[in-house]
């Protein structure tokens, strides 16, 4: 079985209009992939920048997969939320990016988007907070049914991911 190590960190997020952000992250793989070590999803701490507008999480990611096929190459997906001083959480953006497929260290910048509702909902969000959210989280990383959505841009999630591959040449895959 070929093995893939994904080791790195979610550095932080920039470009969001809200401060005090946290991120729920997860990794989605195809059916042929098996997670040998590591946690498949997690949540970062809430970070309030004191200087500048970039929220830093430095959240470590360490995953070890074994796979029999290339289909379903891992995808990292994110939900960035903001928390206000009362403890209420509001969605700031959804985003996903594929894990790189060449070995080495990669700097990734993942753009995010959030669903816009009707003009009433947008007005309510500006005054009271809240706003529409996705019912099914898999829309974040799959293209099906996206045509129904009307969205606005959020900020960018920054990651540094290192990739180690093993035994791919045995299956005829060059890396």
């Amino acid at each position: 079985m070929a093995e893939v190590h994904v080791i790195g960190q979610i550095i932080g997020a920039s470009g969001f209009s809200e401060s005090s952000l946290f991120c729920k992250w997860g990794i989605h793989t195809g059916a042929a992939w098996k997670l040998l070590s590591g946690v498949r999803e997690g949540q970062t701490q809430v970070d309030t920048p004191q200087i500048g507008d970039m929220a830093y999480w430095s959240h470590p990611i360490d995953l070890h997969f074994a796979t029999k096929g290339l289909q379903g190459w891992p995808r990292l997906h994110f939900q960035v939320w903001s928390q206000d001083s009362f403890g209420r959480c509001q969605l700031a953006g959804y985003g996903f990016c594929h894990v790189p497929s060449s070995p080495g260290t990669h700097q990734l910048a993942c753009p995010t988007w959030r669903p816009l509702g009707s003009w009433r909902e947008q007005l309510a969000r500006a005054f009271v907070g809240g706003g529409p959210q996705l019912l099914h989280g898999d829309t974040i990383y799959s293209g099906a049914d996206r045509y129904r959505l009307h969205t606005a841009a959020g900020g960018t999630v920054h990651l540094e991911i290192g990739l180690l591959l093993r035994n791919f040449d045995r299956y005829g895959v060059e890396c």
Binding site: V39, G42, T44, Q45, D47, D62, G104, L164
Partner: protein, 187 residues
């Protein structure tokens, strides 16, 4: 076909905690330690250290320089649990107590060669305003009992509010090419 026994590889880390930029604080020292998985073990060198106390330079850079050496070798059979270096920076507050000014963590680089890493630092913050005031007043700020928590992914959602202060601690980590032997192909 690879041999049935797991192959052991070594990772040698040479470098230094070079300097930091903390615009608001002075007279700081830092502590480093390594966090690694179960398949890893240090074979040589020190895996923890405390630096000297440094003051800001008088020139325009306002740099806090430690130039604190890091020299450790790990051995392992599995890249899972790749070591992370955890840095904690401490300094005096206005009353003279030693308080934490920032925590940060980063993975040791994966490829041989010379690397420079800037690590953002953050401090835990209380959620209640009264607690923030009393902790400032008494000099007993929220602190981690074990700084190694910073290198772990689980349990962070319970940290409700983090005041982040984007500092840069320059860490140059240069594994010496003769010693980094990996059975995997990183490049």
């Amino acid at each position: 076909m690879a041999t049935a026994s797991p192959s052991v590889f070594l990772l040698m880390v040479n470098g230094q905690v070079e300097s930091a930029q903390f615009p608001e604080y002075d007279d700081l020292y830092c502590k480093y330690c390594f966090v690694y998985g179960q398949d890893w073990a240090p074979t040589a060198g020190l895996e923890e250290g405390i630096s000297q106390i440094t003051s800001k330079s008088q020139d325009v850079r306002q740099a806090l320089v430690w130039n604190f050496p890091i020299d450790v070798t790990f051995k392992s059979t599995n890249p899972y649990g790749w070591p992370q270096i955890v840095l904690s920076v401490y300094g005096p507050d206005v009353f003279g107590n030693d308080v934490v000014r920032g925590y940060g963590a980063v993975h040791v680089p994966f490829s041989p060669g010379r690397h420079k890493r800037t690590i953002p630092m953050f401090v835990p913050e209380s959620t209640s305003k009264l607690q923030k005031f009393t902790s400032w007043f008494m000099g007993r700020r929220p602190e981690y009992t074990d700084p190694k928590v910073v290198a772990q992914g689980e349990g962070r959602e319970d940290e409700n509010a983090e005041a982040e202060i984007p500092r840069s601690t320059w860490v140059s980590l240069c594994p010496s090419p003769a010693w980094l032997m990996l059975p995997f192909c990183p490049q």
